[in-house]
Amino acid sequence: MSGEAGQQAPKASRPRATTSSWRASWRRYRREHRWLRWAIPLAIIVLAFSYPWWGLEGPLSFIFNDGLGIDNDTLFNMSVYVMLALGLNVVVGYAGLLDLGYVAFFALGAYTLGWFGSGLFSTRDIHFLDTNATRLPGIHLSFWAVVILAGAVCAFAGVLIGWPTLRLRGDYLAIVTLGFGEIIPDVFRNGDSIAGHNLTGGVRGVTQLDRPGFGDTLHNATGGILPVRYNSLELRPWFWTILVMMLITIFVNLRLRDSKLGRAWIAVREDEIAASAMGVPLMRTKLWAYAIGAIFGGFAGAVYGSFINGIFPTGFSFQISVIVLVMVIVGGMGNIWGVIAGAMLVSWLNFRGLDKIGEWINGGIPGSGNDIAIAKYKFGIFGGLLVIMMLFRPEGLIPSSRRKAEFAEGEGTATLYDVRT
């Protein structure tokens, strides 16, 4: 929570001429009022959790639900993408590893749910605290256990993929990760007959997935607050679930950023040779970034798979990797608040915004013929957005102070020569 929240405290200081003194006085105000340290995050969290009451329905629904089209579905999708963007932020923003195959972990997380929370292996009959109404054939572990398992599987896969690839640098790493992002959905597509076993459901994917739930005991113990099992009619618990997971992601992001590991990530991004000469083990440090990013991708994948109640290899295309990367870049690499803002903006545009903008244009501009399908130009628009960002604000919407400094660097300060690396 740094200076970007400065506008929210009009009483904090007398108006000054420049934003920098604004920020300085805001920072001073915050130092003097320690309670703001927890009050502001708390207010934001309460606001986010109560969205169904003021945004979906209620006083502001005419703006958010009707105007911007942020309904239950869109809200859930946006939250999933915020989580993905925060996961990728560890890899790209902190450690500076350009990963173009992040969708692989999203997919793997979803398929982990397919393996441990569906009837895919219908000849098996394994149950552990699952909350289904009847005893279904297949492997059904508790949804929460599956989520953790998805994180573990993705971390393992991250290390496995990272081991050979993270030795590469820059463009080469990007190309290899892009390859993995393409390979993994293909493996799932063709995984319906591996040595005679159907492991992934092939092109038909996996359907009828388990849903989150707390079971009868917890339901009764909390007086009916925690649902026995989520359903597709009452969507608010889904949103709250992903919100809690998002908060955990943010918390871990923040804590790691300020740790020994976080410093090592930035050092590796800045100068690998110097970092390793100062005692930072390069592979270990990068693998941690990759694995932690993968874990969050896995969490998001498992919840997403359950929400749409179907996992298909076509659902995990290269486009997702690109869109998540666009979110991180547009928002401001390395800054959590920037990444969240970028993810919300881009995912809103992706799921509803472009449709809505199309409606406004078609309805508002006479003679437009009411038939401009803006959403069809989606990737053209995102490409354009990225180019515009790179030209006018390469550090992102809300950059970290470090990134801002990086982009402010003149050519004159660039190193002219270098030892062979």
């Binding site: 804590r255 976080g262 110097a274 005692g279 030892v419």
Partner: protein, 262 residues
């Protein structure tokens, strides 16, 4: 000052490095007695920095070996060499430019603090204490190296001299027994150079650190070195006390050249 009976903290035996057909370091034998200040000099392109990079693990020697504190280290990656107690600075400053001075120093403590992912996420009391201690030490080191009060300045915003100081502070943060300085006085004015020479002597006297210096400034070299080794075209052409080196014919020839090679 180098006691002849002292053990050698570092021994390089027949070290050789080839880049394709170029022999950058040609079978060099080299020792650093514990507690001494040893200088490595030679004309440009003599292989000094390559030799440095072999000692610190950036390069693997083509042949020969390096023994540090009694254990062979050639082939170890740089971070392991650093963990064993060898630290270095770079000829062309390689700070983490977009990190603060304090963060730069903290990074170098990597092999000396425990950290731990779970401990960091939950910020356990033990971890808090460790971080606090590390920050405290980092501040002390910055003050000791002549950068008091500059903790929160981004490295790239420091003046050239301060950047050099920060490089040394950062190297010291890894708690080395042997400190390798690659042309530390490059770009310094005579006063700064004199201060720096003093600083290096203090390091040895008060912190018990052995120093290997690559240096072009002969006043520095002759002023503080116990021994001097001269490289030319990758070969060791002379070794001895500063006084002896000053009058060595091959050294004079290497620096000033003869009619045939000038």
């Amino acid at each position: 000052m180098a006691d002849p009976g002292a053990k050698n903290i570092l021994e390089a035996v027949q070290v050789r490095k080839e880049f394709g057909g170029l022999i950058a370091v040609n079978d060099v034998d080299f020792v650093i007695p514990q507690g001494s200040i040893v200088s490595l000099i030679g004309p440009n392109g003599a292989g000094k920095t390559t030799f440095f990079n072999i000692l610190t693990g950036v390069y693997k020697p083509t042949a020969g070996g390096v023994i540090f504190d009694g254990a062979p280290i050639s082939g170890l990656p740089p971070h392991k060499v650093t963990a064993l107690g060898m630290a270095r600075t770079f000829q062309n400053i390689r700070l983490f430019h977009n990190m603060t001075a304090l963060e730069n120093v903290l990074v170098a403590m990597h092999s000396r603090i425990k950290g731990g992912v779970w401990r960091s996420i939950f910020r356990t009391p033990a971890l808090k204490r460790e971080e606090q201690g590390a920050r405290e030490r980092a501040r002390e080191l910055l003050a000791f190296s002549g950068l008091p009060g500059r903790e929160d300045a981004y490295a790239k915003n420091l003046s050239y001299g301060d950047q050099r100081r920060l490089e040394v502070a950062r190297a010291l943060a890894s708690e080395p027994q042997l400190l390798l300085l690659d042309e530390p006085s490059a770009g310094m004015n005579p006063e700064e150079t004199a201060n720096f020479t003093e600083f290096v002597s203090t390091l040895r006297a008060e912190h018990d650190i052995t120093v290997l210096l690559i240096e072009h400034d002969m006043r520095v070299v002759m002023g503080i070195s116990d021994r001097v080794t001269v490289l030319d075209y990758g070969e060791k052409i002379a070794e001895g006390l500063p006084k002896e080196i000053q009058h060595d014919e091959r050294v004079i020839e290497a620096y000033l050249g003869t009619a045939a090679t000038a």
